[in-house]
Assembly symmetry: C2
Homo-oligomer: 150 residues x 2
DNA sequence: TCAAATAGGACCATTTGGGTCCCCTTTGAA
DNA sequence: TTCAAAGGGGACCCAAATGGTCCTATTTGA
């Protein structure tokens, strides 16, 4: 189905939510449990996503009591591809592309060897042109209408 | 990694090979075992791929002795997206998009609801602009250099 | 009449990813 | 000084999707 992982989906939702108050560096932080409740995503999962995003530098974690997370950049400065790369790894449609180094066993025969690059580039270009601000939209900062029960 | 399935990869390879002789309708057919040997892909897998491609109308199967498969269109008339859709199903990055009908349980909260469509469109556009001829290239019709041992 | 080849579906095993939990470190507040 | 709240990092388990194989029926040329 050519889908991206749920984790990536969650990451987008969490970051969109994160932009609500503590929009930028030095802004107010939000805790993982709080984000979990606000988004309806299970708390351990939110924590996991935030850890990964932190390692990628997309969010900044503040440790200790009264700690939490904040964005390091405005949503408009975060291309969707950055989130995908952070969560899912490099964008490459096939396993036999660059870096694979001996993955495909039919190298001698494969007629399309080395020709996937234009495809990958096209995908990357499409995903780089869309920012999280495009996904969140102006209505992103509206107050949440409800919280999930359980 | 945002990858497509191996089956799709196989399909591209098989179709590229299929274009070698029996390029078009009324052309010479090639058998599944023959294609398997020519591509280095396991024979049952090749058969499976060809069946799916047949159902999608991308190849035409000829039954009976001396049967086989041939392309229904030249590679230049087959967008990559057609193969992906045939094997993997509709191209949609997230599960919560059109048709999902009640998939996401956090509908009341989700800030990015209904905003993935532009992304999906961008991907579809990128994949529709590339044909199998682009992937196979002029060198596609060169004789295979070797066959895999086992 | 037989053999070759497709058509279709059922089936199993493996892998990948989703999700959870644990312990450690940090740090503000009592 | 102590405690509690929160992030950091990793290990672990389970399940769903996928890859891959096989079996049977049907078709058709020799």
């Amino acid at each position: 189905m050519l889908r991206l992982s749920k984790l990536t989906d969650y990451a987008v939702v969490v970051m969109a939510r994160l932009a609500r108050d503590g929009a930028l560096p030095e802004g107010q932080v939000q805790t993982a449990p709080g984000l979990a409740q606000a988004t309806g995503i299970a708390e351990p999962t939110v924590a996991k996503v935030l850890k990964i995003l932190g390692q990628a530098g997309l969010v900044e974690g503040v440790r200790g009591a009264r700690g939490g997370y904040r964005l390091t950049r405005p949503l408009s400065a975060v291309p969707l591809s950055a989130v995908i790369v952070a969560i899912d790894g490099p964008i490459a449609l096939t396993a036999c592309v660059d870096g694979g180094q001996g993955g495909c066993e039919a190298q001698g025969i494969c007629a399309v060897r080395g020709r996937w690059d234009p495809v990958n580039d096209a995908i990357r270009r499409a995903l780089s042109g869309i920012t999280l601000a495009d996904l969140a939209g102006p209505s992103c900062c509206a107050v949440p209408t409800m919280l999930v029960a359980e």
